[in-house]
Subunit: 232 residues, 2 copies
Amino acid sequence: MPPAPVGWQSVHAEVLRRIRSREWLPGALIPNETDLAAEFGCARATVSRALRELADAGLLTRRRKAGTHVALNPVRKATLQIPVIHEEIEARGGTYGYALIGRETAQPPLQVRSALGLAAADPLLHLRALHLSDGAPYAYEDRWVNPQAVPALLDVDLERVSANAWLVRNVPYTRGQLILSAATADADTAEILRCAPGDALFLAERTTWTGDRPITWVRQSYPPGHRLATEL
Amino acid sequence: MPPAPVGWQSVHAEVLRRIRSREWLPGALIPNETDLAAEFGCARATVSRALRELADAGLLTRRRKAGTHVALNPVRKATLQIPVIHEEIEARGGTYGYALIGRETAQPPLQVRSALGLAAADPLLHLRALHLSDGAPYAYEDRWVNPQAVPALLDVDLERVSANAWLVRNVPYTRGQLILSAATADADTAEILRCAPGDALFLAERTTWTGDRPITWVRQSYPPGHRLATEL
DNA sequence: AACGATAATATGCATGTACATAACGAGACT
DNA sequence: AGTCTCGTTATGTACATGCATATTATCGTT
């Protein structure tokens, strides 16, 4: 019987085990790729692949010539899934609904202007909408769109298609920022979300650009009880 | 002059450009690795590396034999940095402070028991602490530790070292969960964080295991104004 | 002692070849 | 028609080799 095949995944697993078991302490220099390849009986490229994955995950730090070290602070990186709300709701087994609350062209507040990096007070398209799950409010969306970057959006029937869904499908972005925070519900928002004024809302604010052209700023407010979960 | 070298990064960039420019539409099948390698004048492995990165980022979906498709919904993945609070504060230029508020052994509430997957009502070590930035409350930490998994923690002087820092350095975990949410401050928490009762707090709840042994459950509450930001 | 050129070294990347594996699809058989 | 098998095909992985590049260590000169 030939020896069990050594894949990069098995090297990955073994190195991970040594880190977790503290066989290799945080900060320690681990053997170089050539030596590990010899130890595991595989090619250097295989070891390299495994170590690269671990470095990407933040458990190792690698520098040319300096070698590979176990990360001092197991940099905890969590990858959040940021789904389109439509899919988020259906993934939970709910029926998605959508209602446009307001649509106007107006001057954005300072917060939006600065987030988008717009100096002049150009008017933007202001959209307010409600996402529903099984008829119940799921998230309130307050959005400002730069019509110069997305002129086609002006012709879309936003009563039927959410700006969210349309933008995701039709406007690629090259850069984006996400800010998560919490805030209390004001009277308007509380009424829309059918919660009490003063309730704690979970906020997700996204800003997106293509190149250096700002596309949209959006704040989604989730009623009390909403949770954003991820594995570490 | 020799032709410009074709690295996986340049292939990555060009494929990304074709996706963003909608030259390759969402859902479309893109040429196979061999053809792309011929087009770009590089080895198949180089194309493969580039496409793998894009698939990891969620922009492509790849299946053996079926080929590589542009993702229908550009799955937006955000990688959050979950720093140790100590470093988070110092990264902002603040001076870190820490105060232990309470330490006891007690039966955990149902929420903690179920999060940790503990059936029996074994007593856990209950720690409450405050993280400070320049003397001001930064985050309130409510933690339950399974002493069976971490007996050594009982001998640590938790007045001086935060359980957070000690655990990160001394107890590796194999699995963890992070839940972000919002809640209003109750009277106790408000007093500790020096905010008003009813203010919206940003909550981060973490649960960690080694193997199937639960280690700790912790909820960190951040006062109003706290933001968790990430690039997309 | 301070500084600068140079050699040594570990990772990073590209290539060609080979084989493994998953999945689609055509054709055979019931 | 249904379904089962098997060949085809595209991705996934492994390996040996070679060169590139960043960084450190060393040795020399001033």
